[in-house]
Symmetry: none
Subunit: 118 residues, 2 copies
């Protein structure tokens, strides 16, 4: 039995969820967007479904998958006690992501004209 947290430890599953965050998608859509083999997509979706992260509805031969928020809310709730550590200085995340070379997938607010020093 996989826990809520270990489910989203899988990068492919996070990618699927992020895709679904934007809009409902069929298995084929996901397969194509993420360029991964269809059995992999189906398996990950099964795990996500059984853990309550997604639900599916039938549309002819396709299954359309969409987000169910509850498990993600659980994670959000777990984070609550830590928020006091960053409610003060919010740009620590940006520095951290810079350091670890993560790609921010919100291209909008890339750089703030805050004049950060190196």
């Amino acid at each position: 039995m996989e826990s809520t947290f270990s489910i989203i430890a899988e990068p492919s599953r996070r990618a699927i969820l992020s895709l679904l965050a934007a809009a409902e998608q069929s298995v084929g859509d996901i397969e194509e967007h993420l360029r991964m083999p269809q059995p992999s997509v189906s398996k990950h979706l099964r795990v996500l479904r059984e853990a309550g992260f997604v639900e599916s509805r039938v549309d002819a031969q396709r299954r359309l998958y969409r987000i169910r928020p509850e498990p993600l809310m659980e994670i959000d709730a777990w984070l609550a006690p830590f928020r006091r550590y960053w409610s003060a200085h919010l740009d620590a995340l940006e520095r951290h992501l810079d350091r670890t070379g993560q790609a921010p997938r919100t291209p909008a607010a890339r750089r703030k004209p805050k004049g950060k020093k190196r």
Copy 2:
């Protein structure tokens, strides 16, 4: 290299982090509070430290560990796109739109015309 998300997939590590959320603790403190073998605690702390979740300072023979917020902020940031699913107001709106079959306000490119079926 373990990812930020897989690190907190481990229940013991989440327990350690939750403990540290309240206050700085020594290895012995953690060992005692969580009633787990000391080598386990040290190993988990090592993982957490290398991933930037915690940092330690030396106090005589002890090491006092405390939270570093950055990786947790990263997770918080990853959750952002999903929040609209549980912000009560938007969730209700969404259900309403689904029920009434309104056009999705979700970004772009729903289905690309593969065949001309509906």
